[in-house]
């Protein structure tokens, strides 16, 4: 009992000391808090929003799909599937959909649209939303609901009409949303909802058309969706049909957005790490300033543990408060995300507080502060009370072993946290590796810079130049921490800029070169000649006339696709066995292709087995190489083939690329359709051609690559905005770390500046010394960051996008000077006090 009282009074004293000391050091400590607040805010906001998104997708899964489950296929249902549908009590609603050019007779304008013919009261969950809640009874009124944005763009109003194929329907309302329409796809082919009978009347359902058939079901009782999925999906799969339950769809969608969320989380985590480096550096200097007090306390009888605990408690409280403040800010930021991301999300996200993220934010603040301060805190253990009598400048600080253990703990924590975010130990290890390499390069650059300055020090330069350079490597210099902070922020920003620039440049390069920008799909073989003539009549060239033959894989290396599907040990990618391949035949390679193995066979020589060429991706996913046999089902006819060559295909090029290419002389008589391409220089030419084609050949769809490009630009712009937003956190954290570092270095250097003032240095001279020093630091940090981003973008281009990266000058011309000037201004603003106040007053103030 007595022991307990003693312990509690000891702890109270430690708390009291931590509070007294912290209170008097509030200004210095506020910067530590600020650096952790932003990092935590970034992580908490992204984490909470991600959770909200996932929960909302799960909650709204039925309204996302509009039904409990769907049986779908890209061909009409066969008898077996029909029997299954019947056994389920028959579908409650049906849909046939396809992309087609639609004509608006009012002004003759045309557009590629997603025509969705529906019967039977779909959707059962969620609703069709139209502007001004108008009438939805498109079935009863035999009318169309047309995408609102398209109507606005093309100047169409309610009561006008829309024509696709042979059918003309009145437009009854402006469609805002309907379950099952993805917003991204809608940008390219906006939806039109029509009665199912209208689709059948249109005459557009013919060979080669890409048509989706869907049967919607409403579950009457609490049917187990997982059980249904498990039971029916394999059977339907064998018949080239799919079962999608609202649960599986929401899970798939959730996973897709989760990956994006994880990436953002990592960016946020980098911001937090940056804040932690700031903390480590500031605490190091802070504790260094406290060593004298530690010695006095020890001299007066405090134990090593007591002095250690005083500062540990202080840091823990700061971390805890930083965690709370950061979490609060994160929750405020979370509210803004739906506004930024509205167009990219499949649903309207209801923002709620996520307790898990809140707890995580607070704990993260506490743990990371302690962890990153630990190395400096351990230093208090080694302070001798003799320091009260005689200051020993070179007294050894923390032991090597303690330092290594702290470092190990930090990396374990970073790894653990990344694992928690990514749920994959290899990715987490790569992330930690990436962090170490990036930090290592930045630290290496700053050390190299210091080495070079020492090696080639301009001994004959003027006092100001020498002094500013000396400041970079004097004891307690801030070079390393500032280069890390500035470098990392710049690195993130310019990598994002370069990547975005690369993707857009690639798309527009294809536009500028003599490559097609209009693609005519679904051209029937017998129409090809007339369509080509129509194009030529508009004074436009027919650049390509590509035959397309659809087929499925029937046998792979002697094993039937059904057998492979049933084999649970098979590692062959599912899409190979399920996909309907659109193949072509030609006698030469095209510009986006490169032969990597085997021999390119231009023409079929009549042998029993047909030599074909497959893409590298296909060969990997199907696990085939040259010499392996593949049998294809070409619309009922089995064709034996052998892989003669493997091609590397640049899929990122806006060109028609194929996984499978046949030689000439074998598929010419197979049922096929064609794709024609042309290039329209003016927008008017493009519109005119589209109008002509729609009226003469209603089954043909036209993709205008210029529109696709603008959609791509829009999407990249939005994603880029968000990523820049997160990078901005890193930069702001970097700036706070910078202010903190500059302020702490101010305490280090104030005596010297005051001494210079006392000896008669003019304010201008002190400003110049400081300005030059921070200009060097700003330039070095941002330049290293940009150079590092050149490297990372090149790696991204090489491995991920498989394209060539030509760096733009913008980061060098804008980001580099902007950040350097920012650093300079922060440095200067901190020297104002030294210059403007009398020397003695400042010295007295600093004694606090």
């Amino acid at each position: 009992m007595r022991e307990n009282n003693k312990n509690s009074s000891q702890f109270n004293w430690l708390l009291k000391m931590a509070w007294r000391d912290g209170k008097a050091s509030a200004t210095k400590l506020s910067l530590f808090i600020a650096s952790i607040v932003l990092g935590i805010a970034a992580v908490v906001s992204i984490q909470s929003f991600g959770e909200n998104l996932r929960d909302n997708i799960a909650l709204q899964s039925k309204s996302l799909m509009g039904a409990d489950y769907i049986i779908g296929s890209d061909k009409p249902m066969n008898d077996r599937v029909t029997a299954i549908i019947d056994s389920l009590g028959g579908a409650d609603s049906r849909e046939i959909s396809f992309s087609s050019m639609a004509l608006f007779p009012k002004n003759g304008k045309t557009k590629l649209m997603d025509i969705r013919g529906i019967s039977g009261g779909f959707p059962f969950y969620g609703k069709i939303e139209t502007e001004i809640n108008s009438d939805h009874d498109f079935e009863g009124k035999h009318a169309a609901l047309v995408d609102a944005t398209t109507m606005l763009q093309l100047g169409i109003s309610e009561g006008d009409s829309i024509k696709f194929g042979e059918v003309t329907l009145p437009v009854m309302a402006r469609l805002k949303s309907i379950p099952g329409s993805s917003s991204l796809f809608s940008s390219i082919a906006p939806p039109v909802i029509v009665p199912l009978s209208a689709v059948e009347e249109s005459g557009l359902i013919q060979t080669g058309s890409r048509i989706d058939y869907k049967y919607y079901f409403k579950s009457t009782k609490n049917e187990d969706m997982d059980q249904l999925d498990k039971k029916l999906d394999p059977i339907l799969d064998a018949e080239d049909a799919d079962l999608d339950t609202h649960k599986s769809t929401s899970e798939r969608l959730g996973r897709r957005y989760e990956n994006f969320g994880r990436f953002l989380n990592l960016v946020a985590f980098v911001a937090l790490l940056l804040g932690c480096i700031g903390i480590a550096s500031s605490i190091h200097i802070y504790i260094k300033g406290k060593l004298r007090s530690v010695a006095v306390l020890k001299c007066l009888g405090a134990s090593r543990k007591q002095t250690f605990l005083i500062y540990l408690i202080q840091i823990a409280i700061i971390g805890f408060l930083g965690g709370i403040a950061g979490t609060g800010l994160g929750l405020i930021l979370q509210q803004t995300f739906p506004l930024i991301l509205a167009d990219l999300l499949p649903i309207e996200v209801q923002i709620t507080f996520v307790p898990g993220a809140i707890v995580m934010g607070i704990i993260l603040g506490l743990v990371m502060s302690i962890l990153f301060a630990l190395y400096s805190l351990i230093g208090t253990f080694y302070v001798s009370p003799l320091q009260t009598l005689r200051v020993q400048e070179n007294e050894s600080g923390t032991s090597r072993k303690a330092g290594l253990i702290t470092l190990l703990l930090i990396f374990l924590f970073i790894f653990g946290f990344s694992y928690w975010l990514l749920q994959d130990w290899q990715h987490s290890l790569s992330f930690v590796g990436g962090v170490i390499i990036t930090f290592g390069i930045l630290a290496g650059a700053s050390r190299l810079f210091i080495f070079l300055i020492k090696r080639f020090f301009p001994k004959n330069a003027g006092f100001i130049a020498r002094q500013s350079l000396l400041n970079l490597f004097r004891p307690n210099n801030q070079t390393l921490i500032l280069v890390l902070a500035i470098g990392l922020g710049t690195f993130l920003m310019s990598t994002l800029y370069f990547t975005r620039d690369m993707l857009l440049a690639e798309a527009s390069l294809d536009q500028q070169a003599n490559s097609p920008n209009l693609i005519l799909l679904d051209v029937q073989t017998e129409q090809a000649k007339d369509v080509a003539q129509t194009v030529k009549n508009q004074n436009l060239p027919v650049l390509e006339n590509i035959p397309i033959v659809t087929m499925r894989v029937a046998e792979l290396k002697g094993r039937s696709s059904q057998e492979l599907k049933n084999d649970s040990t098979s590692t062959i990618n599912g899409w190979i066995l399920n996909h309907e391949f659109r193949t072509t035949y030609r006698d030469s390679l095209i510009s986006s292709e490169e032969l990597i193995s085997g021999e390119w066979i231009p023409t079929y020589n009549g042998s029993e087995i047909v030599p074909i060429s497959v893409s590298e991706d296909f060969s990997k996913d199907a696990e085939v190489t040259t010499g392996d046999t593949i049998n294809f089902n070409v619309q009922g006819v089995i064709m034996q083939t052998e892989v003669a060559s493997i091609r590397k295909v640049d899929w990122s090029r806006m060109q028609l690329n194929f996984s499978i290419v046949f030689p000439q002389g074998i598929l010419e008589d197979a049922p096929q359709f064609r794709i024609l391409t042309t290039k329209a220089y003016a927008e008017g030419d493009s519109a005119e051609l589209q109008q002509k084609l729609v009226s003469q050949f209603p089954n043909i769809s036209v993709i205008d690559l210029r529109q696709v490009l603008s959609v791509l630009e829009d999407i990249l712009g939005k994603i880029g905005w968000l990523i820049n937003f997160m990078a901005f956190f890193s930069i702001i954290t970097g700036v706070i770390v910078l202010i903190g570092a500059v302020r702490t270095s101010k305490y280090q250097r104030i005596k010297e500046s005051v001494l210079l003032r006392t000896l008669g240095a003019k304010g201008k001279q002190i400003y110049k010394i400081v300005a030059l020093e921070y200009l060097y630091l700003g330039l070095l940090g941002s330049l290293t960051g940009i150079l590092l981003s050149l490297l990372s973008t090149s790696l991204l281009a090489w491995f991920l996008f498989e394209s060539i990266f030509v760096p733009s000058l913008i980061p060098f011309l804008i980001i580099l000077p902007a950040i350097s000037i920012l650093v300079l201004l922060i440095g200067l603003s901190n020297s104002v006090a030294v210059v403007k106040s009398p020397p003695l007053q400042i010295l007295r103030k600093q004694a606090m």
Binding site: W13, D21, C299, G301, L389, R390
Partner: protein, 226 residues
């Protein structure tokens, strides 16, 4: 009178690069309870090193130190800290107040470390005794040098030490203030019966003590009665 400090054959060396520098060569002396004892000598003679060793702030290479009946060489660093907290007081040349604590908080620290609940009350009484009753809540930076040293003296007596070590207590003060501090130190010493060990350059101050130990080059020149 019993011995409160007993130093025998004390030797202290420091390594400086490859050389070994001997600061103290086999020093032996004793201090009796209630005595005022001065250690004098020129700069570099080893006075401060000797004081540090006697107070348990550092460890010797050989020899023994018995402080208040306890052999210091048998103690760990934390045990020595506890001994200092219970039995000793310190006054330093450069005051060594904690800059982030007010005057009363500084004075109370040794008692607070003992878990004494009346630390603050006693600190205020002592500050009153040294003439700073109206400045108890001032921070060190808000006090003059003389005032800071008075706070340090109050702190040194706060835990009723058996022995008080003073390292050049007037070294950073002007003559008049120095005299006031000396008087304060001696008056409190007399009033509370504390043993006083002073390291000083100031021969006038040394002459006020009961005995003087003269050091030169790390060796005792003589021990004399003043």
């Amino acid at each position: 009178m019993s011995k409160i400090l007993n130093v025998q054959n004390l030797r202290k060396t420091y390594s400086s690069g490859n050389n070994e520098l001997t600061i103290l060569h086999g020093i032996s002396f004793e201090v009796l309870q209630g005595e005022v004892f001065s250690i004098v000598g020129p700069s570099g003679s080893g006075k401060t090193t000797l004081l540090g060793l006697c107070a348990g702030l550092d460890q010797s290479n050989s020899g023994t130190i018995e402080l208040c009946g306890t052999n210091l060489s048998n103690l760990t660093e934390d045990q020595r800290a506890q001994l200092r907290n219970r039995k000793t007081g310190f006054v330093f040349q450069d005051f060594q107040l904690l800059p982030t604590l007010t005057a009363v908080e500084n004075v109370a620290v040794p008692l607070e470390l003992q878990g004494n609940k009346n630390a603050s009350k006693k600190a205020k009484i002592l500050l009153g005794k040294v003439g700073l009753g109206d400045r108890v809540h001032h921070y060190p930076s808000q006090l003059s040098g003389g005032e800071q040293q008075r706070v340090a003296v109050a702190r040194a007596f706060c835990n009723d030490p058996e022995i008080l070590f003073a390292d050049e207590p007037t070294g950073n003060l002007d003559e008049e203030t120095g005299e006031k501090i000396t008087k304060l130190l001696f008056d409190l010493n007399k009033e509370l019966g504390t043993t006083l060990v002073i390291v000083t350059h100031d021969l006038e101050l040394a002459k006020k003590s009961d005995r003087i130990l003269r050091l030169k080059g790390g060796r005792i020149l003589e021990t004399e009665l003043s």
